[in-house]
């Protein structure tokens, strides 16, 4: 089982082979297209994190002592970044999720998408991911 920072390092290395933003974006778009679909029953307002640019739906479940996140978005770039975030955060122990940071996103050259002012829902999604982790840690304790 890889740690969060190992996965982050892995992604950074994958991105290193791209020589410009077009390739990075094409990859993200691919990731977006191949993102595992969220269960339809979670694609409702209760699970909605609304940025005013794009919508994000997020669900979290505790399986054993790990959290499984699933998510979706109506915008494909947002979805691609969601795929990256889930790869990092999903299937991890709550404590590790709480402690993790998202600086690797800067390294990938995607910083602007996580700006709280971009209102694409991603920065709220990260907040929400952490909130779930806090809630589930309490449950586990």
């Amino acid at each position: 089982m890889k740690t969060i920072s190992e996965i982050q390092q892995e992604i950074i290395e994958e991105f290193n082979i791209f020589s410009d933003w077009t390739q990075r974006y094409e990859y993200i778009i691919e990731l977006g297209k191949s993102l595992t679909l969220i269960n339809k029953k979670y694609k409702i307002d209760n699970y909605l994190i609304s940025g005013c640019q794009s919508k994000v739906w997020l669900n979290a479940e505790l399986v054993g002592n790990k959290i499984i996140y699933t998510a979706d978005s109506d915008a494909i770039i947002t979805k691609g970044i969601i795929a990256i975030l889930l790869r990092v955060f999903s299937n991890q122990h709550p404590s590790n999720i709480i402690d993790a940071n998202t600086d690797f996103i800067d390294v990938l050259g995607l910083k602007e998408h996580l700006s709280p002012t971009r209102a694409n829902g991603l920065s709220s999604m990260i907040k929400q991911i952490k909130m779930y982790a806090i809630a589930f840690r309490t449950k586990l304790a």
Binding site: T22, Y25, Q53, D74, I77
Partner: protein, 404 residues
């Protein structure tokens, strides 16, 4: 005639690279760029005569006051208001609208009606919803058709002697539609209703004559008019302004204050409590001077040319759908490409150095009308060029390919 080389040199901000590409600024409807002469005017204020205005006996204060009041005269003349004090300086169009809406709190009665169009900006919706909540007045929505054009017949049939206020944008910020304000004014006036016109998207693009059109209220923002941020104007006929009740108190706006009784100063001061945005107002006046040095007619015909060219070129893109097909449109094109999300296209255009706006443009009801998540909005100014449009169209095609 527009000398585009000369004009672009007036706007230093345009000469920069974003992400390695020449900046193409197509977000003018959100905020227009500011010419060097306006930037200098502001700097020179702080370098030379920054001082609180009105009531000061000393030289700097006199000089600042004169510059501030000259800006008011400039704007009065530009819009042909009959008196300088019919121009109230505010912090922006939103603030101007709120002053009017608050001012009607005691005038409107339960059951009175306010008619508002379906294509308004949030800033021209929420204040009226709040006014209705305060007074029990009823908000009625004048519908648009699929082309994004106000259905004038329907509007007319909604008017009655209950109609007290008609609220309408001169130009839709989401679609570019120019509304027929002459007809709206004459219909409304025939029912004795007052008309509030939101000119935020109109004033930058064509000439408006308040007296000739018999306009009751008109609002605009400096930052969309090549001027600084934090300044706006509220025009109202003297008699109407004097009927509004006041909800903001402060220095400047009073004649006499005792704890027993406070008497208010006259127009325009009673609507300008506190120290105003002195540098901003002076810069706003200079921006109007600059606009007039180019000529709004020149601006308008050049921008029309850009619009037509852009419409034609965009129409060539497969699955591109333009929202807003009014005959009379100005400087704004809103569109989507197939089912692509506007955010995705906007994010990629940004990488190409092209600034457009995506989303609901603070006009959610109209976006809801079309049942879409938003649009890409391209908005032009007289410093834009056809070459920029070509690059954008090209970039859109490339972005579309990436996203499909």
């Amino acid at each position: 005639m527009i000398n585009i080389q000369k004009i672009r040199a007036d706007f230093p901000i345009l000469n920069q690279k974003i992400n390695g590409k020449e900046l193409i600024y197509f977000d003018n409807a959100a905020t227009s760029q500011t010419p060097q002469i306006v930037i200098d005017k502001i700097s020179n204020y702080y370098l030379g005569y920054n001082s609180n205005i009105h009531r000061g006996v000393h030289f700097l204060s006199q000089k600042a006051t004169e510059a501030y009041e000259n800006a008011r005269k400039t704007i009065q003349l530009h819009f042909n208001a009959s008196r300088p004090y019919e121009i109230i300086f505010t912090s922006g169009a939103t603030h101007s609208i709120n002053i009017i809406a608050l001012g009607y709190t005691k005038i409107l009665k339960k059951g009175d009606e306010i008619i508002i169009s379906e294509m308004e900006h949030h800033s021209n919706i929420v204040p009226w919803q709040m006014l209705c909540e305060r007074t029990g007045a009823i908000l009625k929505i004048a519908p648009i058709n699929e082309d994004g054009v106000l259905v004038l017949d329907k509007f007319k049939s909604m008017c009655s002697k209950k109609t007290k206020l008609v609220v309408i944008t001169h130009v839709s910020n989401a679609l570019g539609t120019v509304n027929p304000i002459e007809s709206i004014l004459s219909i409304s006036h025939s029912f004795n209703a007052k008309v509030i016109i939101d000119g935020a998207q109109a004033a930058p693009h064509f000439k408006i004559d308040f007296q000739a059109l018999d306009i009751d209220y008109y609002v605009a923002s400096s930052h969309k008019l090549y001027g600084p941020t934090g300044v706006g104007m509220l025009y109202g006929k003297e008699r109407l302004l004097n009927e509004l009740s006041l909800y903001h108190g402060g220095g400047e706006m009073i004649h006499q204050v005792t704890f027993k009784k406070t008497t208010y100063a006259e127009l325009p001061h009673k609507f300008e409590p506190g120290t105003p945005n002195i540098a901003g107002v002076i810069g706003f006046g200079e921006a109007i001077n600059y606009t007039n040095s180019i000529g709004l007619n020149n601006i308008n015909s050049y921008e029309k040319e850009l619009m037509e060219y852009a419409t034609k070129e965009l129409d060539k893109i497969k699955d591109l759908k333009i929202y807003g097909k009014a005959k009379d449109k100005t400087a704004i094109i809103s569109f989507n490409i197939g089912k692509l999300h506007p955010y995705d296209l906007g994010a990629i255009l940004d990488k190409f150095g092209i600034a457009v706006r995506t989303g609901h443009h603070c006009a959610q009801p109209i976006i809801d009308y079309y049942k879409i998540p938003g649009t890409i909005r391209v908005s032009f100014s007289f410093y834009n060029t056809k070459e920029e449009i070509d690059i954008m169209v090209d970039s859109l095609i490339r972005a579309t390919k990436m996203l499909q």
